[in-house]
Amino acid sequence: MRHPQLNEHGELRHLLTIDGLPRDVITHILDTAASFLEVSDRAVKKVPLLRGKSVFNLFFENSTRTRTTFEIAATRLSADVVNLDVRTSSTSKGESLLDTIDNLAAMNADMFVVRHAQSGAPFMIAQHVGPGLHVINAGDGRHAHPTQGLLDMYTIRHFKKDLTNLRVAVVGDILHSRVARSDIQALTTLGVPEVRAIGPLTLLPPGLKEMGVQTYTDMREGLRGVDVIIMLRLQNERMRGALLPSAQEYFKHYGLTEDKLALAAPDAIVMHPGPMNRGVEIESAVADGRQSVILSQVTFGIAVRMAVMSILAGTR
């Protein structure tokens, strides 16, 4: 069975997940992103690669920040961007997901950027749309957030150069995190020899071992000697489902503080996909500290999304 994100020539037609994406495709995206990085520094921040193309942002679940970064990326490629808050329009009137997609496709969209609360929804859309259309997964349920995974790899590569001798720790609510899944898959594909997941057992999903990850319930032990720390956002509703007792206890054991950070390699970098809960998963001194690369992630995110869009647009 062909992966739904590849065309019959094995080229990337949609970006749905990092899972199963070949290493050279990931590297190509990162290299392309590097070439776009300087566009953002120009006085005229535009290249004409997507001129005349229409990019539809379909956010079935709201997220101002991610939608904005896609919008900026598309605009810098000279595409026309249509933002649809699908939550408040058609689907709430009872229209089915595929009916919504058919209607928007009939408006001659070239690219859909999709965020959906259900794992797998972008796959369904990608398998449904006609040949000229590209789908980018901007986050589906707990499943995947491939552009975040790629921009995290870009960030790590930027600061660490060689990924094949790194220890990387992903900390927090991995069970519910699409970012964690995409990061882990990208890290293992790119040959990072040691990927660790740190969290209480209630927030670690089954199958981490099969994904090539070592798990730690003791954050201090898990952070020892790591080169990269990826912190995850903890959502407040996790306190309700009997997964955690309180934000205070969580912070005490799994919040990143300066003294815990000191256990990592001296030049370790600290990452976070945002938005941060200061005082819950990360202390401000660390978030704003010299080892934090959180704002670089945001900058690189634009270039990586430009790279993905331009590569997809060049595929039949």
């Binding site: 739904p4 089915s96 997901l97 959906h116 794992s119 369904m124 349920g141 499943h143 089954p206 199958g207």
Partner: protein, 423 residues
């Protein structure tokens, strides 16, 4: 009508009969095997060389969707599907709308089925009102109306006291309680087997413990109250192990498995294929192999289709939102045959799991080829291959993970009470 079926291989799992011989039918029953009785004149002769004649299949779980879900399927469409699949008796779970918790509804359903005059329909009554697990139904009244057992369909009785009392009450009248063992708390929100696949796909999981915890509770209750329990849709290797121990101990428990669970695992979900959204979920290869072996050695008594027609609007959705269930009446025989072939199970034994073993659980007539038995028959070509497609299915539900697959074994004739109702 007097009918003679000539040249077929007759298989009766109940008696172990397996030989080529003529079969003569009169007045809706089997009149003779081999030579025709004296003075017998056949009004119709079915030439069946190369075909197998076995008792009509008995499906322990088929949702016909009436009343309440006629937009998904109707008695007309699903009875056609049953007959096309060689199924002459079917048990339907009570999860209709309204739920089968009142004698009037059961009578109406029985009446509808009788007026169609096709496969025999045996309803399972609800164990609790509205399947809510709170108040017992009028079981004796429902039994009088035609219910052959009492079930919670896919709903659990969360309150163990209610469950214990429902079992005690059923036991007072000698009724069987049908339970799909799944702890409602451990399975809450789950849409796929809890394991590496659900972890990778970001789907919330139903752990094996949801099944085993429920089984432990049920077995402990059976031990104290002696109620006969039929376990519906066992799904895990660990569940099979517990069942085996319970049977060794002599507890009055029986069990079935859905035919698709003999073939598929969670890996088949692939890229979120909602045709693989079923309850209980597909588990691992180890679980599937244990189910296959348990059905072969009799730890699991019978195999059923768990037929559940689902309309497009409810199925063409992201995996977690899609309604669980697949169409299966017409695939029950071919998928059981391919299990038998893979498992090295003789045809007689495989058919036993679809006929006499199921009849014993359901407590219904039929399930055997014997002089004087009802002439409910399935006549099939075991070697004919066909491709599963929406157009090759009679059921109104077209969603099955076996779509576009080639299967072996095609029903050529189905007879109910001596009448040819499908050919």
């Amino acid at each position: 009508m007097n009918i003679t079926i000539a040249g077929a291989r007759l298989i009766d799992p109940a008696s172990g009969l397996d030989r080529v011989e003529a079969l003569h039918l009169a007045q809706g029953r089997i009149a003779a095997m081999g030579d025709a009785p004296q003075g017998f004149v056949a009004e119709r002769r079915i030439e069946a060389a190369g075909l197998v004649v076995c008792p009509g299949l008995i499906d322990l779980s088929a949702r016909l969707r009436e009343p309440g879900f006629e937009y998904k399927a109707t008695l007309e469409s699903e009875m056609q599907a049953a007959l096309a699949g060689g199924v002459t008796s079917l048990l339907c779970p009570p999860d209709t709308d309204p739920v089968l918790d009142e004698p009037g509804l059961v009578e109406m359903l029985k009446h509808r089925a009788r007026s169609l005059d096709q496969a025999h329909l045996y309803p399972l009554g609800a164990l609790t009102i509205g399947l809510r697990g709170e108040v017992l139904t009028e079981m004796a009244e429902l039994a009088e109306a035609g219910c052959v057992g009492f079930s919670q369909a896919n709903e659990a009785v969360a309150d163990t006291q209610v469950l214990a009392r429902a079992m005690q009450y059923a036991r007072s009248f000698g009724y069987t309680v049908w339970i799909q063992p799944q702890d409602p708390h451990l399975s809450r929100g789950g849409v796929a087997h809890s394991g590496p696949v659900s972890g990778r796909l970001g789907l919330s999981g139903v752990p094996v413990t949801a099944e085993t915890v429920a089984l432990h509770t049920l077995f402990e209750l059976v031990r104290t109250n002696g109620c006969r329990v039929h376990l519906c849709r066992i799904s895990s290797a660990r569940g099979v192990e517990l069942l085996r121990e319970a049977r060794r101990e002599g507890l009055p428990v029986t069990a079935d498995v859905a035919v698709h669970h003999l073939h598929l695992t969670d890996v088949d979900i692939g890229f979120f294929d909602s045709n693989c959204r079923v309850v209980p979920p597909f588990r691992t290869q180890r679980d599937r192999d244990a189910l296959c072996a348990a059905l072969a050695d009799g730890t699991i008594d019978a195999v059923c289709s768990d037929h559940t027609p689902v309309d497009d609007d409810a199925k063409l959705l992201p995996f977690g939102e899609a309604e669980p269930g697949v169409t299966g009446l017409e695939l029950l025989l071919p998928l059981t045959l391919s299990w038998a072939q893979r498992q090295g199970v003789p045809l007689v034994k495989a058919l036993s799991r679809l006929t006499v073993d199921a009849a014993r659980i359901a407590g219904c007539e039929g399930g055997q080829l014997a002089v004087g038995a009802p002439a409910d028959l399935c006549i099939f070509d075991p070697g004919q291959a066909w491709v599963v497609s929406p157009s090759s299915l009679r059921s109104q539900g077209h969603h099955t993970p076996f779509i576009h697959r080639e299967v072996l074994g095609r029903v050529k004739y189905t007879l109910v009470s001596g009448r040819v109702v499908h050919e």
